[in-house]
Amino acid sequence: MINLQPYTNPAYFILLIGTLLPAMIGLYFGKRLKVYEAIWTFSFLLITFGGIKWHQGIALAAYIIFQQLLVQIYKAYRKRHNSTAMFLSMIILSIFPLVIVKLAPIFPSSQLSLFGFLGISYLTFKTVQVLMELRDGTIKEIRVRDFVRFLLFFPTVSSGPIDRFKRFQADEQQVLSRDAYLVMVDRGVQYIFKGFVYKFILGYFFGTWLLPRIAHVALLERHAFFGTGLSLHLVEYMYVYSMYLFFDFAGYSLFAIGISYFLGIKTPENFNAPFRSHNIKDFWNRWHMSLSFWFRDFVFMRVTFFIMKKRLIKNRIRVSQVAYLLNFLIMGFWHGVTWYYIVYGLFHATAIIINDYWLRYKKAHPNLIKHNMFTEGIAIFLTFNTVCFSFLIFSGFLNTLWFK
């Protein structure tokens, strides 16, 4: 059987949008063809997780059943009780498959990686979010099919953006007027074409064309600067990799959002000109937004409330610092259990804590620096370079340079 990976080439788009047309025509006439959409989703899941990747397909099916059970059991339980122990066990159970898959590379001889499939992280984010909102009481009812549809919404299944259940469900239920739907299709087309420029032209140029060449020369200079491998080419690598990372992932996100819009779903944005951020905090409000907002709402805020409620730490500044540290450490581990992802997380935690100190200092001394184009430029320049350096860590290239 054929196997196609999402959004990799023009033929995929022709197939995807071509088969989506009936559903789109339906929406144009104000009707959501739910059965057709379900069949369409199933077929594309089969193409993505079938063929040579059949074991991923099985893992996905098992995963969905497992998470569905957790959600339905907890929903029923939550109607009567609300114990923290039960809630925590549900969360732990829910992230258990993801933890196993993330640990698999450390135990290469084990069969742990068999639990994995493309997109497991994003499905876990969605499930955890549903469980948390069930606990909060902001979600009361979630039907089996609604949960499956939310989880397996095909345009975003492999790598996000991470939507929220209530928002998604509202879009899904809403009957769009023809005008409103046409505006969405128009936006969708714009997203997808911008994605083509990002991923297939700029991402290709930086990632496929330029990056291997620079990596090659940078590796040749691994003995440079007293054996540290620090060379101008390494600096070049840092910038080129950063550009590649942005254009590739932002391009991918634009595809996912564009296709969502065709289906009348306003999947949230993932990037908002991140290299124009004027500090690290600003950066995380613009970079991989659906992930950083998820972490903000479900890790950072929860940790902060927990510490404050239990009065573990009195000083409010310390509280947020600890929360940042935990937040980014978890994000680092989520990327993968390697030293460079974890250092990447710690680096950003440190950067944002320093950033906080600076912001407080500036607030206390309002006449210290006047805001003008020049200072704004310096701020953007500093932030950009800090971020690019963090991406150099993230790229794992230093690992190759030093230890391979």
Binding site: L182, V183, D186, V189
Partner: protein, 416 residues
């Protein structure tokens, strides 16, 4: 009415974009619209899009270039490299370099498929590295890197039920450059089984070819590596008129200067970057290398088969291994000798008599630039043979292809 207008504004630009991309790809370009300097740049570039594409290389072969098939050694643009010498002394035709690290017989065989009319009754030079003939032969990953859908589609469309085509199809499938279930894979499978392509497959390949030609013309206009500076630097070092003795002396001096960091006569930069740190561990590391048995011998036969079909007059060059390096790493000279014997037997017995075997010259000072790549004096030896070969009148070669060379028996046979 209003909705229709809105719909038109949304879909209109998309349709225009699709139509324009289709036109761009299918538009019948006129061949040969390259400037002389563009062709010169391409002749040195060894870029992937030159090797995999058709437009540039065929234009060059029509306009004063001879194909030089080879691998990594071709990129050593020293003063004596044929590309440099040919420019300086105005050879009647200049080398067009095809191949780089990892290109072997199979890649060349397929790359030839979109230039057969430029090979017909013409000349070619092939540098056959003994290093191609490893136990495993062509590595699929390397083949895939140079895999050309354009040349392969052309090959498929003219493939017949012959032993050579069947063999080539089977090898192609082994390389995993494409999926077996893809259109290309299914078509290749048919050739491998001795069947004809289906009408559908033909139509698909013809259409695909049109698009690939469009892409080739479009993209070959840029992304060509520029090595003109190195070429011109080389020509400046050469004496005004060609003199073997003078250039030989210059080559020796230059070799000496550029290898003075080590005892093995390996070029200083390369030695410093790749070898210095681990030279101790390399002692006797090549004791077990053996090039005498390899599937490559039959892949090589594919090239010969192609030359027979296009009546191409070919000069074969078998480069040596740096003798000092061979001794240090324990590489057997005897094994190298019998490898070159085997290659020569395959060539001579089928009428390919134009062979420059340099296997025994690995101990000449500064013949090699490093371990296995021709250098200052080595290239000079090549020039000495290539210049008269290219200058002389085209002759009609008489080749007799022997199917035996496609057999496992030959691949495994050890020739003393």
């Amino acid at each position: 009415m209003k909705h229709r207008h809105q719909l038109g504004l949304t879909i209109g630009p998309v349709l225009v974009a699709i139509i324009m991309s289709c036109l761009l790809l299918i538009y019948p370009y006129k061949a040969g619209s390259y400037s002389a300097s563009g062709l010169e740049k391409a002749s040195l570039s060894q870029s992937n899009n030159v090797l995999k594409g058709q437009a540039i290389k065929t234009a060059a072969l029509k306009n004063g270039y001879v194909p030089f098939f080879g691998s990594s050694e071709l990129s050593r643009l020293d003063m004596t490299h044929p590309s440099v010498v040919a420019k300086k002394y105005h050879w009647s035709k200049r080398p067009f370099l095809l191949g780089k690290a990892g290109t072997q017989s199979l890649t060349h065989y397929f790359a030839m498929q979109d230039m057969t009319s430029q090979l017909k009754n013409k000349k070619a030079v092939v540098v056959v590295s003994p290093q191609w003939f490893t136990k495993k032969g062509q590595i699929p990953a390397a083949f895939s890197a140079y895999y050309s859908p354009l040349a392969t589609a052309q090959w498929l469309l003219k493939a017949k039920n012959t032993q050579a085509d069947q063999y080539a199809a089977k090898r192609l499938l082994k390389m995993n450059a494409f999926h077996r279930t893809s259109m290309m894979g299914k078509a290749t499978l048919r050739i491998a089984n001795g069947e004809q392509l289906s009408a559908n497959q033909r139509r698909y390949l013809q259409l695909r070819l049109k698009v690939l030609h469009g892409e080739d013309h479009f993209f070959s206009a840029f992304i060509v590596k520029n090595k003109m500076r190195r070429l011109n630097n080389g020509t400046k070092k050469l004496p005004q008129s060609y003199s073997f003795t003078k250039i030989n002396r210059l080559a020796g001096a230059m070799g000496k200067r550029n290898t003075n960091s080590n005892q093995l006569q390996i070029e200083n930069n390369l030695y410093r970057k790749k070898l210095r740190g681990k030279i101790k561990t390399l002692k006797n590391c090549q004791v077990n290398l053996d090039y005498r048995q390899s599937p490559e011998y039959s892949d090589f036969e594919l090239m010969l088969n192609q030359f027979k079909q296009t009546n191409t007059d070919v000069l074969f060059i078998i480069p040596p291994v740096n003798a000092k390096w061979a001794k240090y790493t324990g590489l057997s000279q005897q094994m190298l000798m019998s490898t070159s014997h085997k290659i020569k037997q395959q060539l001579n017995s089928q009428g390919f008599n134009n062979v420059l075997d340099l296997t025994q010259d690995g101990n000449i000072n500064y013949f090699m630039q490093d371990s296995i790549h021709l250098g200052w004096r080595g290239w000079l030896a090549v020039d000495q043979a290539a210049q008269p070969f290219i200058a002389k009148r085209q002759r009609t070669p008489h080749y007799q292809i022997n199917r035996y060379y496609f057999s496992k028996n030959w691949q495994e046979k050890i020739v003393k």
